[in-house]
Amino acid sequence: MTAADAAIAARRGRRATGELSPHALGVAMNLPTICLLLLVLAYPVAYAGYLSLHQVGIAQLRRGVFPWNNWANYTRLFEDPLFALALKNTIIFTLLVVVVEVILAIGIALLLNRASLWTSRLARLLILIPYGVPPITNGLIWSFMYSFQFGFLNRILFSLGLIDDPVNWAGNPDTALYAVAVAYIWRTLPFAVLIIHAALQGIPRELYEAATVDGANAWQRFRAITLPLLAPVIVVILVLRTSFAFAVFEEILAITQGGPGDATFVAAWYSYKLTFSPPNNIGMGAASAYVLAILVGLFAIAYVRLIYRRIG
């Protein structure tokens, strides 16, 4: 109880006014949230664990009986070369997206911070547009960009005279994953730029002026002032983007559907296909999603540790 609380209590007697104790009020105000989180988050997570240990297909769904199958979902999962490939693709995709996005975001945020340039002000006005584009729409737009015969990218390159034959951006197994990554980066970059830009504006100008007086050049100022002060938000972006890119789904669905062949089969797509297309192996789908959740959960715990280090 703080001094203010004590003063208030002393002035009018807490019980007499019928005010709830902080604990009771806290429970009352959190009741809707707790109920909903139990219903939509906690229970499904537990139930997914249950499903992942049982044989669940359409036939079992109809009968409502899920026989125990002795970890067979997991053993089959880890023996499936497609799952291993999906995990590998997911990791490549995530690493690529995170590294490129953080580097681009720092560079772009520094550019946008030059308020004296009219191009910077224009770019700052436009940078948030991709945030408004629905992920599935974004995927479909990029599938038009990449289309082998009719794509917009090839049209531009033809018009500029840069290519003589059309390039099959998303249809070539060697480039498909990168093509999806570019589409994904386009949609998610504004968030990273925005957060870094906000952090840049919080750095006092005097620091730079003092460093300049001391003879530091632009690179030295960046290394000694900007980067260390941006470090906390960069970590936030790293962890957030890693977790979300691990579960990339819409752009895969719209651009490649896991193809060509299985070049862009990622973890979330693997779980989705296994569960929701025939023969609907829901048990194994749940097992694969669980593995994904555990991988992402490790990042999440690291993130919370990082953020709440001071409080905890």
Partner: protein, 294 residues
């Protein structure tokens, strides 16, 4: 410190590249949706078509009634394109419902985290932060089984409740810093004058946080407008599909060509892109609040 000469030129160049990258897909969706299948296929090496047309939008917005010149001979139009208005209305109902519930429940919870100094409220907050990272697919598989066994597939309320549960942690994370920034003295003064804690929250904290609540509401609306996986898995009947589900259903339909696809893409991105443009300040505030403090 103002850059001059070559550095200044390079910065303009960098900004130019950024603008080009941002605008390229937007230009593509515009140019693609404003031409016919004939020019798209016939002039496959030209950026700017020789003919422009609004027929793609006409056929979608009249639900296939007015086909216009370029669809005159078309015998097949996917049913989902014809149910555009229904999907738009469903998306609106879902997004508004989710926004109201997340902001309402989120504000109640965020206040307890920001003000009541309860150890378990802080745990709840940490659980929220972790929950934000759960991949949607993990929850959708069990939720599909549960919702199916309850006979609630193909309803809007199941989608609204599920999305609310998904987004509530993020809403709380966004709102906590806004509440924490309101001076405690104001509340204390009100309580000395006889307000209960809840009245202080209702009459002082909430009215003072309208910008935070708006920021949170805008972001919740945008994310729920964009959500695909939840309505895709829970609703398969056309009358309950949302706009992203309609868009997804056209993927792989060989009879729908890019001109019509880009038109429906443009229509589906317009509401939230306009929202982002008009309410940029709130989007920026909300995203920063939700990212920096946790």
């Amino acid at each position: 410190m103002e850059p001059r000469g070559l550095p200044r030129l390079l910065m303009h160049l960098g900004n130019g590249l950024v603008i080009l990258f941002i605008m390229l897909p937007i230009v593509a969706v515009l140019v693609g949706s404003l031409q016919s299948e004939r020019t798209l296929q016939g002039e496959s090496r030209r950026v700017i078509p020789s003919e422009w047309t609004l027929d793609n939008f006409t056929v979608i917005l009249t639900q296939g009634q007015q086909r216009g010149r370029i669809f005159e001979q078309a015998t097949y139009l996917p049913d989902n394109i014809k149910s555009f208005y229904r999907a738009f209305a469903n998306s609106l109902v879902v997004a508004l419902g989710v926004t109201m519930l997340t902001v309402g429940f989120g504000a109640l919870s965020a206040y307890t985290v920001a003000r009541l100094r309860l150890r378990w409220a802080l745990w709840l907050m940490q659980a929220n932060v972790v929950a934000r990272f759960l991949p949607a697919i993990v929850l959708m598989i069990p939720l599909y089984v549960v919702v199916r066994s309850l006979g609630q597939l193909n309803t809007l309320h199941a989608v609204i409740l599920t999305e609310t549960g998904f987004l509530l942690p993020y809403a709380i994370v966004i709102l906590v810093p806004f509440f924490a920034n309101i001076p405690v003295d104001l509340e204390d003064a009100a309580r000395v004058d006889g307000c209960t804690r809840f009245q202080a929250f209702w009459r002082i904290v909430l009215p003072l946080s309208t910008s935070g609540l708006s920021a949170c509401a805008v972001i919740m609306f945008i994310i729920s407008w964009h959500e695909l996986l939840i309505p895709l898995i829970l609703n398969s009947r056309p009358e309950f599909m949302t706009l992203p589900v309609i868009v997804a259903s056209l993927v792989g339909d060989v009879h729908v060509f890019f001109n019509l696809l880009m038109a429906i893409c443009l229509l589906s991105l317009l509401p939230t892109v306009v929202l982002v443009a008009l309410l940029q300040r709130y989007v920026v505030e909300g995203l920063s609040a939700g990212a920096v403090k946790g």
